[in-house]
């Protein structure tokens, strides 16, 4: 049922950069260590300490900016964002305010209708806060762990270009793949190395044709891509119902922040941070600006190798793949396109390699595909299977629906499985001749034979079906067609 509104979704994604050390100190960024065991005086905000920027963090951020096709700022700097919270030991977060390192850019997502471009506003660098764990006990102390304080993050801010929760999901998956492929971030939402806040509102078409825009709501606390999708569905319905009740539009109610409660499947209003609106940004005097020149950008580009966009183009032009297939192979991650290219190396024809990879191998993949080894069967094994089909030793349908699942399940080779399942196609032309004769001479089939000879092409199907049935599907269909036609027309 189509809804009388359009959803507008903008996402703010925080991704932790894959560095050894924090953004401004030499402390490790390992997840899950003992509380407060990865701190320096700087991480604790001790007086007299000073930040010094991690070069690798900056270069990883540059890679992300280039991958998203952003304009890298020639001059960028740091600012302090000030607020009081126990997980923020300095009383300010070092972030970027008016001169982020990257602006503009876009992420192309693959949706049913094809490819859609989601524009980015900016990408900036900032340090993470620590972790404040609230006591269950009423009035009990909160506990602060500063291991995470100072971990490098990029914040990727999109335009509100997504119109469905599925598009938001596709966007997050694409961003994640790009960042993982470049080894910019491992993007583990469970560990907090990828976090997402959403800004959502509705454009509702009223009966008179005018548009009502609902107030923007920011949703936080979504800890998986699935949660983002669910929260957006919930929030769209909630806003529509609320609008039907109170009719309030943008400007008539303040921007609200709501938290996603995954267990209950609802968004609930969050208490605003006190004076959240006055961060009193000012240039960080302890850090110097960064000037980016062409040579530096070229060096980073060279390290990045082929970009996703370049690879999609190559798949289309060199291998004649469709837009969709080329997009999927690339945007599903480096492991997937590596797998595809490995099939090509095994002399599999490109279109077949693409179809098998997308339609079969990916549907058997379990869990996160990090490397080519996470995809089954191994490309060499699959190439053997594809070769059997091509060599007419196996039916395509049997290969896809019976042999491949059994290979993934058991790890055995394609010939072994097809033998075990008795699926090998018989190539005995004598047997084909015999069965064809048997069918043509069968009195029950006489009418079909006569019809065909009388010019009714349709009758051929019935004869063909009989031959295949009697062969238990083991004859290659094209050979049966050829033999049967020869016998009927001779």
């Amino acid at each position: 049922m189509s809804k009388p509104y359009k959803i507008l979704i903008g996402l703010e994604v925080h991704a932790q950069l894959q560095t050894n050390t924090k953004l401004f100190s030499g402390m490790p960024t390992t997840f899950g260590m003992r509380p407060n065991s990865q701190t320096s005086p700087l991480c604790i905000g001790m007086p007299g300490t000073l930040p010094v920027m991690n070069k690798r963090a900056f270069e990883l951020a540059m890679k992300a900016g280039l991958a998203f096709d952003c304009t890298l700022s020639r001059f960028t700097k740091w600012d302090r964002k000030q607020y009081y919270y126990p997980d923020l030991p300095k009383g300010y977060q070092i972030s970027q305010y008016d001169l982020p390192f990257a602006e503009g850019g876009a992420v192309d997502i693959t949706i049913e209708e094809g490819t859609k471009r989601v524009r980015l506003i900016r990408v900036h660098l900032e340090e993470d806060a620590g972790k404040n764990t609230h006591s269950d006990k009423k009035g009990g102390d909160s506990l602060v762990d500063l291991n995470r304080a100072g971990v490098p993050l990029i914040e990727i801010v999109s335009e509100p270009d997504m119109e469905t929760p599925e598009e938001a999901k596709a966007y997050l998956e694409t961003v994640r793949t790009l960042l993982r492929d470049l080894e910019v971030s491992d993007c583990e939402m469970q560990e907090g190395s990828l976090r997402c806040d959403a800004n959502v509102n509705l454009h509702i078409t009223k009966p008179d044709g005018t548009i009502a825009k609902t107030p923007i709501v920011e949703i936080k606390n979504m800890n998986s891509i699935r949660a983002v999708e669910r929260a957006l569905y919930y929030e769209a319905d909630r806003q529509y119902e609320l609008w039907q009740q109170d009719g309030k539009v943008m400007g008539e109610a303040p921007k609200q922040t709501r938290g996603w409660d995954d267990a209950r499947g609802v968004t609930i209003p969050q208490r605003e941070k006190e004076e959240a609106s006055d961060y009193r940004y000012f240039p960080e005097p302890d850090l110097v600006p960064i000037v980016i020149d062409d040579a530096w950008i070229e060096r980073i580009k060279a390290e990045m190798g082929e970009t996703s966009g370049d690879r999609i183009e190559r798949y289309k032009s060199e291998y004649g793949l469709s837009d969709y297939n080329a997009d999927v192979l690339v945007t599903k991650g480096r492991a997937v396109s590596d797998y595809f290219e490995e099939l090509l190396a095994q002399k599999v024809e490109p279109k077949a390699a693409a179809n098998w990879t997308i339609n079969d191998v990916l549907s058997h993949a379990v869990g996160r595909v990090k490397t080519i080894d996470d995809l089954n069967p191994a490309p060499k094994e699959l190439a053997e299977l594809i070769g059997m089909v091509k060599g007419k030793k196996l039916n395509l349908n049997d290969a896809r629906e019976k042999v491949l699942p059994a290979m993934v399940e058991s790890g055995k080779s394609a010939p072994e499985i097809s033998k075990e399942l008795g699926l090998e196609v018989v190539l005995d032309t004598g047997a084909i001749d015999a069965v064809c004769d048997e069918v043509i001479n069968d009195p029950k089939m006489a009418k079909s034979v006569d019809d065909f000879k009388g010019g009714k092409e349709k009758a051929f199907g019935a004869l063909m079906g009989q031959v295949m049935r009697r062969s238990q599907g083991k004859f290659p269909p094209d050979m049966v067609t050829k033999t049967l036609r020869e016998k009927l027309t001779s």
């Binding site: 005086p41 604790i44 905000g45 001790m46 007086p47 007299g48 300490t49 000073l50 930040p51 010094v52 920027m53 302090r80 000030q82 009081y84 126990p86 030991p89 300095k90 009383g91 300010y92 909160s142 602060v144 500063l146 006190e274 609106s277 006055d278 009193r280 940004y281 000012f282 005097p285 302890d286 850090l287 110097v288």
Partner: protein, 486 residues
């Protein structure tokens, strides 16, 4: 001359020659501290045994034939704003009364490497905010020349300790005049180096874009010696300059004949004490006698320095001092109702009046609706002030001016009027805003017997030329040889 009246340079020579032991030198200064510090109140933390232990260890090291540092055995007093591992570092604030840093400031590390002896930690205005050391949460340090007067501030303890011969040399910090003004009030030498010359790592920040650490001593040669030991690049401070460190002690001995000394006529106008004016003018004649050429210049935006300074400095301070919130270290109030109340009570009780006033002013200057009119405007004026100096240094080598408009004032005289206190920095703040170098040398006394100081400003990384002029002046005068009777 007794040991405590010797210059640091002479003491280092004697120590190196083996004419005197580090223990004997240290003992002499400890005795002096014990004799006069009840009156001067320069020291916040003083540990005779620890100082003597250090001195004996250095003597042993030297006797063993091991190579020792350039300051081996020389006692030093350190402003209580520089973090030293395992030593209390309080910034003269209740907020940090119990704070013991787990790390050394860069300069403290350098002094350890040079085998200096730490006599103790000296008093200051709380978090370096003040011009009289009356804002210390512990005690008001006295001016050794007249104990009814302030020693200046915020490095009042560092200045008073050297003037009272409780230490041959000390470290201070200068954000708007906090080395030069107390040096002037106490009749000693104080150098505010170029921004970036000395690493700020471990210096508890007041205003990060203005703060610098510098030497305080009785002679320019001593200041050069100490600067040579602490200056230079430090990878822990992104704002520390990667500029080579000259051999100041050698280079400053060059004569000043032919140097162009800039004079700003406006500096000698309204608000300047006549005694200060005549002493400063007389000192200019001394420089002229040595072959320097006096050149009149203009610094058209100088009069806006105090206004711009008190916005930039307090804005940064309001941010730098946000970390003192009772969570991770330092003071926490008792009896509060929830987190925000804990923050407010901790900060309300932990900070003194001046600190609170500046946090309020700085927070206001950065707050929504006022940021452009105050903070950004001040940064624009800062640019104009810096441009003035750049233009001036295109024609002159140094600029000479009074350091402070008056000699030291009486304790309590200005505590109720913060603005008049701020105006005592009128000749010093623009040095920090422009990031250039500024030196105070004693240039006379008032009729009441209070010291007067001459300020010598030089372009960025022009410490050598400022000290050349200062040294030449000291060669021709004897103000620096006088010591107060306590």
């Amino acid at each position: 001359m007794t040991l405590i009246q010797e210059s640091a340079t002479r003491l280092v020579d004697q120590l190196r020659a083996g004419d005197v032991s580090a223990e004997a030198v240290t003992r002499a200064f400890c005795d002096r501290i014990e004799a006069v510090d009840d009156k001067v109140k320069a020291f916040l933390h003083y540990d005779r045994d620890a100082a003597l232990d250090q001195a004996r260890a250095i003597d042993k090291k030297r006797q063993s034939g091991a190579s020792v540092g350039r300051l081996a055995g020389l006692p030093i007093a350190v402003k209580d704003i520089l973090c030293a591992k395992g030593m209390p570092t309080t910034c003269a604030s209740k907020m940090l009364e119990t704070f013991v840093p787990p790390y050394d400031a860069h300069v403290i590390g350098r002094l350890r490497e040079e085998d200096a002896v730490f006599l103790g930690r000296v008093n200051m205005d709380e978090f370096a905010m003040g011009s009289s050391t009356e804002n210390s949460a512990v005690a008001s340090t006295r001016n050794p020349w007249n104990t009814d007067c302030v020693p200046g501030g915020s490095s009042g303890g560092s200045a008073a300790a050297v003037a009272a011969c409780e230490a041959p040399i000390s470290l201070g910090t200068d954000t708007g005049g906090s080395i030069r003004q107390p040096a002037s009030y106490c009749g000693i030498v104080g150098l505010k180096p170029t921004y970036g010359r000395v690493s700020r790592y471990g210096l508890i920040a007041f205003a990060s874009s203005l703060d610098q650490i510098g030497p305080m001593a009785r002679t320019v040669d001593d200041a050069a010696l100490l600067l040579e030991c602490i200056a230079g690049h430090d990878r822990h401070d992104a704002t520390s300059a990667n500029e080579p460190v000259p051999e100041y002690t050698k280079e400053i001995t060059a004569p000043i004949k032919g140097l162009k000394v800039g004079i700003v006529p406006d500096h000698f106008g309204e608000g300047l004490d006549p005694e200060v004016e005549s002493a400063v003018r007389a000192s200019l004649d001394v420089l002229k006698d040595q072959g320097a050429e006096l050149v009149e210049i203009d610094l058209p935006h100088k009069k806006y320095g105090i206004a711009a300074y008190y916005l930039v400095a307090t804005a940064e301070a309001s941010s730098n001092l946000a970390r003192y919130d009772g969570v991770h270290y330092g003071f926490r109030a008792e009896n509060f109702d929830g987190l925000i109340d804990m923050y407010c009570k901790t900060r309300g009780q932990g900070f003194g009046d001046e600190v609170k006033r500046r946090i309020m002013l700085g927070t206001f200057a950065l707050s929504a609706g006022y940021r452009d009119a105050y903070y950004i405007k001040a940064l624009q004026v800062r640019r104009l002030i810096k441009n003035d100096f750049d233009a001036a240094f295109a024609t002159v080598d140094v600029i000479c001016a009074p350091t402070a408009p008056t000699p030291a004032f009486k304790i309590g005289e200005k505590t109720d009027d913060p603005l008049s206190m701020y105006l005592s920095d009128i000749y010093t703040v623009s040095t920090n805003l422009a990031g250039i170098c500024g030196l105070n040398v004693p240039c006379g006394f008032s009729k009441a017997g209070l010291p007067i100081g001459l300020q010598i400003q030089s372009p960025p990384f022009g410490e050598t030329v400022a000290m050349r002029v200062g040294r030449a002046y000291q060669q021709a005068t004897d103000w620096h040889t006088k010591t107060p009777s306590l």
